[in-house]
Symmetry: C2
Subunit: 354 residues, 2 copies
Amino acid sequence: MIKHNFSAGPSILPKEVMKTASDAILEINNSGLSLIEISHRSKDFVDIMDNATSTALELLDLQNKGYKALFLQGGASLQFLMTAYNLLESKSGYLDTGSWSTKAIKEAKLFGDVIEVASSKEKNFNYVPKNFNIDPDLDYLHITTNNTIFGTQVKNIPETKVPLVADMSSDIFSKNIDFSKFSLIYAGAQKNMGPAGTTLVIIKEDVLGKVTRKIPSMLNYQIHIDKKSMFNTPPVFAVYTSMLTLEWLKKNGGISAIEKKNSLKANLIYNEIDSNELFEGFAEIEDRSYMNATFNLKNQEHKDIFNQMCLEANISGVNGHRSVGGYRASIYNAMEISSVNILVEVMKELKNKV
Amino acid sequence: MIKHNFSAGPSILPKEVMKTASDAILEINNSGLSLIEISHRSKDFVDIMDNATSTALELLDLQNKGYKALFLQGGASLQFLMTAYNLLESKSGYLDTGSWSTKAIKEAKLFGDVIEVASSKEKNFNYVPKNFNIDPDLDYLHITTNNTIFGTQVKNIPETKVPLVADMSSDIFSKNIDFSKFSLIYAGAQKNMGPAGTTLVIIKEDVLGKVTRKIPSMLNYQIHIDKKSMFNTPPVFAVYTSMLTLEWLKKNGGISAIEKKNSLKANLIYNEIDSNELFEGFAEIEDRSYMNATFNLKNQEHKDIFNQMCLEANISGVNGHRSVGGYRASIYNAMEISSVNILVEVMKELKNKV
């Protein structure tokens, strides 16, 4: 049975990654040992960590530009407070584009002033605010590049001289942007990069060392940089599987190649949403996410039959988040065009059933 | 090839756990989906989390006694600061028995006064201090029950009325003690419980809510309790594999049964250390760990031949930690008696080779 998994995260990963990860649980590198029973100080695992961090920087075109890549634990949620703990001395700016940025703002307020440069809350975050002012004295400006729940995506990175911090949990490695515009990027692995349990953090080192507070070791980026993500035992399986996914992406042409495929997938589904009279999109057209398409039935009486048709077509994970309702098709890097076609066919077919 | 893996952590897990975990990466519960691509809000995963937490409490005999079990991220290292963040209002007590307690003390000092009730540092932590005074006004007393690096173990829990906090990373589920003496227990999974990437935290709820500082959400035990370890995306694979290991332990007679096996294994190796004139133990006899046996060759010229014999016998992971040197045989729950016998045979055989 082939399932078409549109889950928002944890989410689909390449089949070959699943197979290799499964094999590694039984034995890694012909060692007679499982990946998960070897020391994280062993050459086998140190090589994995080195490969994962260098491949991440290479894919983002950030090698030899003063950046370090870390694989940490705690998800984006721990980064909400770590960014503020490490960077917020007096005041920070946050662009409020949905639940995740709202949570980031809440944690940052424990450490200093937070200026919300703009918010789309009044329209339930169905668009991305633009043309807002950015105080040049901010310690940093924080944005969430893709808003999983609402299906919006920041298409133009704000122009500013203050350090840019971005939560890219749900669109990192999906399209080419100039990543060197950012001082700090973080991303929970469980969308485009790997299983839940690790977080990629990309830091330009010159942004650190500017706050006066004492930072606990586990929350201190500089310590994790100095220890090459090995200050404590890393989440071995999640790092290994992320490495496999990054290698898969590199082998398949990197971000440029996947961006074309992602555009094709997004166009397929948005074209259907716009041309099918039974459906309507949630997000403003110009701000639509190429990772998470949010939409709804115009007539809720068609819900049971559409859900049943999805079930019969082996489509899973398309229920919308409770704060938006309706449907959400997450079409991350590993999603095949053929799976998107099947969803589109079911949407078309609904016209013949109602 | 059967390897005899004496690694200190990440470390050996039951073979049947490895097999089931490997299969789950390909498909979980006949769903057509991998364990690592399903939503953590799905019934499949919610059941896994519920089962893992309830089995942990059951094995520790802490059900219906006011305790909650959490599966968090960040290892014991994050707990060093979380315990202090949540519990330390004015002053805390720490028993200093090695590297891990020293690190815990360092983090706690950021949040309040720390009284070292006793330390074995002057003898490179080769024993566990006893008969120390405990200030009855401490917010809590923190101990590390087993000291992986030095091979010592606390055999008698200190008698005190102040809340007891314990780092049990390397001996939880290995022997029966009265766990209800503790207000908070934490343990990184990667010794007796599962792969690296999750930390079990057992909390008696009445110890919380007594500090005045504001606690960031991800560091706040009460929030993780309220959200049943699902405040953010949990480390799915590590929780699942920990659940499998806890179920394996329960099926095999629980802690009482494994304690007998662990005693047998420890006695086998310590008897050899004491009776073999080529070896000497590191830790004081009365404080010896039943999880990590530390020992050395009396004559370092025998090192190369002993290492070669271990290699030929498929023994791995017996190198001592750099701060102690020599050898360390970690004999966690999943280690078979047959593997310990092989190590003991090699130690015996060395007499014929030198």
